[in-house]
Symmetry: C2
Subunit: 235 residues, 2 copies
Amino acid sequence: MTAPPPPWRRTPSPRRRAAKQMLSQELIVKTALEILAAEGIDAVSMRRVAQQLETGPASLYAYVANKEELDELLLDAALSEVPCPEPNPQRWTEQVKEQVRHQIRAMVAYPGIAKVAWQTPIPVTPNSLRQGEVMLQLLRAGGLDLQQAMFASDALSTYTKAFAYEASGWTFGDYDPEKMSERERQMADYMRSLPASAFPNLLQAGEFFNADTSQARLEFALEAFVAGLAAMVRK
Amino acid sequence: MTAPPPPWRRTPSPRRRAAKQMLSQELIVKTALEILAAEGIDAVSMRRVAQQLETGPASLYAYVANKEELDELLLDAALSEVPCPEPNPQRWTEQVKEQVRHQIRAMVAYPGIAKVAWQTPIPVTPNSLRQGEVMLQLLRAGGLDLQQAMFASDALSTYTKAFAYEASGWTFGDYDPEKMSERERQMADYMRSLPASAFPNLLQAGEFFNADTSQARLEFALEAFVAGLAAMVRK
DNA sequence: TTCTACTCACGAACACCGTTCGCGTCAAGT
DNA sequence: ACTTGACGCGAACGGTGTTCGTGAGTAGAA
């Protein structure tokens, strides 16, 4: 047995340096997910995750190539919670809308994760691909040909990501109420400063545009788009 | 006239320190726009703009509150190039689609500027408001009521921003071809590694999804959505 | 003309970020 | 018991937005 470390020299590390490997990609992702769910995507930095793990940022790079890869792992984890229904041609329009709602719910649960879906040109992680395939199945069951289904799926996923990102911003602290109300006042002032008739519609419509109507706006967009798809099929 | 600076003491600054004020918000925005058009939004940093102006980053804060405000000024400048057609009820669907195309064109001309439109909850700059009003006018001319027009306009602007951002990425250097092709290979490998029938649709549909089809995908989305709107009116 | 007052310019610093290099420590193999 | 090699990670690099304090220069007053 080697001599024990001299008592005056503090033990190698405040925390126990566990036997072999204490870190793992899984643990890193799990920790990052917790920060993500609690504080939003902007709080997830390599340093922050490392800190939570009581280590330095450099340690993470043994298990994760870079921040981008970590981001994609987080997105994939978030999407893993979305169900995959069996296509039912009788009610395909409802199924499509329901799937979009599920995807949005999953993303909003991890505020800002939609931003990641954004920065990555074509998501190639398992659950992203799975969601793509599911949507294609639902659309084809509705009678769209392959190209139509592909284009429709692309449009839907684009809108889904966009909506989820925006919704995250509204519900999360991305912009605080203080600046928001100041902004509203600023807008009202500006519009009133112009000839009253410059923005007749916007002035009236302002009331429809707030956090409370976001669900209704989603439903409206889905309804219109899916109706347009259905018309293509019938033709 | 005061005595000229002694010749041995080098002139106060390498560059001439012009009489009163050499900087202005206008000049800053103009400079930033040039960088933006040439190198994309990520190249536009306070330091970079200041460097182009041969000064330090701190100097900009006299004319611009912060980076966010500069970003909004850039977005507004980009949107200023979008025309505002007179509503014509006979061909409102075509006008709506055309307006979206114009907005996208304007944004793609300044690569990545769409990201800014994104980070700002409700854009309150003059040209943003103007575009909102124009879209509302076109939709109302088509027969939609105020709430329908508002929701439709919201959906369209969301999709417009999303598409413009994605298009910027494709056409611009955001992700280089090297990583892209490696990514495609990686995806193909992964999909083939699963039971052949796991992604039957995605496997076939891959061919439709590339930079060349982006225009067609835009037209498809517009067509479906606007058709859905038209159906609401007729009913 | 001289002195003061005030505005604008901006160098330096702060607190973050992602990422890399290389050293020290530990555990297992010989 | 000694060597070897992998792992952990402190420190540093170059980037970001932003702030503070200082100094330079002009304009106005005395």
